[in-house]
């Protein structure tokens, strides 16, 4: 099972199918283009709002305004309120904190663990590689979303647990990717040259291999972050992420579901925030990937 | 020479230019050729000379979006093919004009049985039934020299050898009994012994069926034994044409002679180097003014670089050269 183009590599394909490489790649060109910068702009906006949420003149996301329950947008509540009078704008901005934290940290941890292992597997080959790949395959055939549900259900619904759980799931993905890149790289002249000068293997890995595989891993990280955000959203939606006092996009949507027949906006606003964020990550990631591919082709 | 029979196909000033970012690429730039029933016209030239594009232009087998402009006429059995609606050309393709391609390894569909690939043209064009198509398919495989046709019909292409596959593609091309066969380097991808078998097969089928053949190749050796007429193409144009024997024995164009000198000969001493043509074929986006061969021609003079020579001559032997071979050398200022 080594060459399957697995769209389900990460978390639950049913929650967010990621694309096999090179299918949706936008046209490779030297420029990044306006779509890329719009995506980055949106991500930056969400990031800044989330980071400075407590400094912004927002209503407390957990204090109800009983004079307006499930109300539409107004001057007081720009995006309206939910069924118990909580301000939606405030909850969505606070919710971004959870989503972004999950997207950022789970992927960084997954990368930090998976990439070195993959590079080692691809560089040294042999038994080390075989063992690592068997473990990675086993992890990949284990249904990811189920693992997440399990961990949060039994170990406690905390942000740290969720981040670690998602990181665990992404480790084999980064491992495979790093290995594949290293395999190619290990045959390149400059790596062969470094080896022939008698540099130690670890030095070659750190000085020659690592800097060259990192760009494509980080780019893939953007796509993986999108999947992580969706996974956390799904857990939240099913009530298996952080407790509801901490707003998340998933639990705002879950809360709004009760009122969907009368007030679909409660579901719609956080959904749009989530969609745009995932979309922006996908677009930016695909854009960078197609550029890296184009550059790789010319080398 | 059966001069009285009307040509099956007659091209006049055929032109196919491709769109490139740098401007139109003149792949075929004003070619006039014809071929009569039962005869074989060879078209030779280096790769990139436009011979394959010429062949595909006849039946409109070029990616439509790549084409910048086309021109000229292609008259096939009284039917004008150039600029004809796709449905008209599609009806001619496979039915009245068959095609054989260069690489039999890639020109058969890998996941379909030989029988299906052989019969579906007949069934589509001639409306014959399943049984009848099978029967004809067996006869065709026998005609192209494939033993045990019944079994071969059930085979997939990968179960056949290269020579066998090329016989199959020939059988496919002949399925609807066409009056013209277009063969694009049909022997290039094959072993030398298989090459001559396939060429003999094509010759035999041509005579049996009184079919016209256009054989495109880069190999003068292939042309020598198997064609009646010959056209030499260089940079999108015909530079010399005529009966094959005449072109070989009384070569007029320096490019034709260069091609002839590049044929490996049996009497060559071991280690003797083949003559090669110095330089590169010119850019077809921005071709040189004057004769397109002039930059590589040992006989080129100022006139060659300034004025384009017309394709002219007598007795069906025509050539485009200001200072053809057999005439006196051009003035000393040449080089």
């Amino acid at each position: 099972m080594s060459q399957q183009p697995d769209p389900n590599l990460l978390v639950a394909a049913e929650a967010a199918p990621s694309l096999p490489s090179a299918t949706l790649s936008l046209r490779a060109s030297a420029r990044l283009g306006p779509v890329f910068w719009l995506s980055v702009g949106w991500l930056a906006l969400v990031g800044v709002l989330a980071a400075t949420a407590s400094l912004l003149p927002l209503r407390d996301p957990n204090i109800s305004d009983f004079s307006s329950l499930a109300a539409g947008p107004s001057a007081h509540h720009w995006l309206g309120t939910d069924a118990v009078g909580l301000d939606l704008l405030s909850r969505i901005i606070y919710g971004a904190r959870v989503s972004l934290a999950v997207g950022l940290f789970s992927i960084l941890i997954g990368l930090a663990v998976g990439a070195p292992l993959g590079a080692v597997a691809g560089y040294f080959r042999g038994k080390v590689e075989a063992a690592l790949m068997t473990v990675a395959d086993a992890m990949l055939s284990f249904p990811a979303l189920i693992l997440l549900l399990f961990i949060t259900a039994f170990f406690g619904k905390t942000l740290v647990n969720i981040i670690i759980a998602i990181a665990v799931v992404t480790v084999p993905v980064f491992l495979r990717l790093a290995r594949a890149n290293t395999l190619v790289l290990a045959q390149r002249e400059f790596v062969l040259a470094a080896r022939s000068t008698g540099a130690s293997s670890w030095r070659v890995l750190w000085r020659e291999v690592a800097p060259n595989i990192l760009p494509s891993l980080l780019t893939f990280g953007l796509l993986a972050a999108a999947v992580a955000i969706v996974a956390e959203g799904a857990l939240s939606f099913m009530g298996l992420s952080v407790p509801p006092q901490t707003p998340t996009w998933g639990n705002i949507i879950a809360g709004g579901r009760q009122e969907i027949q009368t007030d679909p906006l409660i579901v719609l606003f956080p959904s749009v925030a989530m969609f745009l964020t995932v979309f922006a990550l996908n677009l930016a990631g695909e854009r960078l990937r197609s550029m890296i591919d184009a550059r790789g082709g010319r080398r | 020479m059966t001069a009285q029979s009307a040509p099956v196909l007659e091209m006049h000033e055929l032109r196919t230019w491709f769109a490139t970012p740098e401007g139109p690429l003149r792949a075929v730039d004003g070619v006039s050729l014809g071929v009569e029933p039962g005869r074989c016209l060879g078209v030779v030239g280096e790769s990139g000379s436009g011979k394959t594009v010429l062949l595909r232009s006849i039946v409109g087998l070029l990616p439509r979006r790549a084409i910048a402009s086309t021109g000229g006429t292609v008259c096939f059995e009284g039917l004008e093919l150039a600029g004809a609606p796709p449905a008209v050309i599609r009806d001619v393709r496979g039915r009245r004009i068959g095609m054989v391609f260069q690489d039999p390894m890639t020109s058969l569909n890998p996941v379909m049985r030989v029988g299906t690939q052989l019969t579906d043209g007949m069934r589509h064009h001639l409306g014959v039934g399943r049984q009848e198509a099978r029967r004809r398919a067996r006869a065709l495989l026998e005609a192209v020299g494939i033993p045990d046709p019944e079994r071969r019909l059930r085979d997939y292409p990968h179960q056949l050898s290269g020579g066998m596959r090329q016989r199959v593609t020939i059988a496919i091309a002949l399925a609807c009994d066409p009056s013209l066969l277009l063969a694009d380097e049909p022997t290039t991808a094959l072993d030398v012994t298989v090459q001559s078998q396939i060429l003999r097969l094509l010759g035999r089928l041509r005579r049996q069926r009184n079919m016209a053949v256009i054989l495109v190749t880069h190999d003068m050796g292939v042309v020598a034994g198997s064609t009646d007429d010959l056209a030499v193409m260089y940079a999108g144009k015909v530079v010399e044409q005529g009966p094959t024997a005449t072109v070989f024995s009384a070569t007029r164009h320096p490019y034709t002679r260069a091609l002839l000198e590049a044929i490996p000969r049996a009497d060559a001493r071991p280690g003797e180097r083949l003559a090669t043509i110095p330089g590169q074929p010119p850019s077809l986006v921005d071709p040189p003014s004057g004769c397109r061969f002039a930059p590589r021609c040992p006989r080129a003079a100022d006139r060659c670089r300034a004025e384009e020579p017309p394709l002219a001559g007598a007795d069906g032997h025509r050539f485009a050269c200001w200072f053809p071979l057999g005439d006196p050398e051009p003035p000393a200022a040449a080089t």
Partner: protein, 316 residues
């Protein structure tokens, strides 16, 4: 069938590892799972009995061997919440998940194949570009968001179909289809996006091949060239992808079943996780993993059917 044997040998360690991990999950849980399930009121005896039932009183390897041996005989134990056997619970829920999977795949492929072929044939054209953008947006929609959007559009605004709930097929075919439409659509839409793009990519490559030119030279109509000549050699990635999805959906579309209240395998898993029903969880996960691996193997074998070249290599 050398190929099958080779693949099985390759898969065996993966299966062993995963089944062991599944089993060991229980052991790494904090505290005493038996006590956690039975609650603080339960007597020491009851806890001890439960610990014995789930093998917590034995060393892990021996307990695992015991569990695996019983699993081979089709006995995955009993839920200690409801007393129902895991196998009968699965048998009860599986038809729902399979129906959902089939509907989603049929819907997905029925749209994706023609669209993929068309966009490949007219690559870079207007339809292709528009479809590319639309696909890209669709896959950025999480399934629960997409499902809710569909609910807003159909039951809420247009007043057709139901928001959630399930009607059994034996009860009413029409009602069953009505309850399955939105869930199937929720699963199918992103699949359509992915399938059509994957097929388009492979198809563009196939259309450049010599045998397609050869088919054109035969004067066959365009639809025949596209669907009879070019589709099959272009469908390998698509088949792989669809196969993997089938494997995944057999064991339940967790989020979608949860959202629409469908009593499938995914729902079974979620409810047993909520109830901390360890025996049930272990059983369902083992089933899921085995199905996934088996479908993987099935996809490999399907290649042999689709591609005669691999078939004969295998026979040799």
């Amino acid at each position: 069938m050398k190929q099958v044997k080779g693949r099985l040998l390759e898969l065996a360690p993966v299966l062993l590892l995963v089944s062991f991990a599944t089993f060991a999950l229980v052991r790494v849980l904090p505290g005493d799972p038996a006590r956690a399930f039975l609650g603080p009121q339960a007597s020491q005896q009851e806890v001890a009995l439960l610990r014995h039932q789930i093998g917590l009183d034995r060393p892990i390897i021996s307990a695992y061997g015991h569990w695996l041996a019983r699993a081979f005989h089709g006995d995955l134990g009993q839920s200690y919440q409801t007393g129902q056997s895991v196998v009968s619970a699965l048998a009860q829920r599986l038809p729902v998940s399979i129906e959902l999977m089939l509907l989603a795949q049929v819907l997905g492929l029925a749209v994706a194949v023609p669209v993929g072929v068309l966009t490949a044939y007219r690559a870079e054209g207007l339809v292709d570009r528009a479809w590319s953008g639309l696909s890209f947006a669709t896959i950025a929609l999480p399934s629960f968001v997409l499902g809710l959007l569909l609910i807003i559009v159909f039951p809420v605004k247009l007043n057709v179909l139901q928001i959630s709930g399930f009607t059994h097929l034996t009860h009413s075919v029409g009602g069953n289809l009505e309850s399955m439409t939105l869930p199937a659509l929720t699963l199918a839409l992103p699949q359509i996006a992915i399938y059509s793009r994957v097929l388009r990519g492979d198809m563009i490559a196939t259309l450049r091949e010599d045998h397609v030119t050869m088919a054109e030279a035969k004067g066959l109509p365009t639809w025949q060239i596209l669907f009879r000549y070019a589709l099959r050699p272009s469908s390998f990635s698509l088949i792989t992808l669809a196969g993997l999805n089938v494997g995944q959906l057999m064991s339940g579309a967790v989020v979608v079943e949860f959202l629409f209240g469908l009593p499938g395998v995914g729902m079974l898993l979620v409810s047993s996780i909520f109830a901390h029903d360890l025996v049930m969880i272990q059983g369902v996960i083992l089933f899921t993993v085995v199905v996934y691996v088996a479908i993987n193997l099935g996809v490999d074998l399907l290649y042999a059917v689709l591609d005669p070249r691999t078939r004969h290599v295998a026979a040799a």
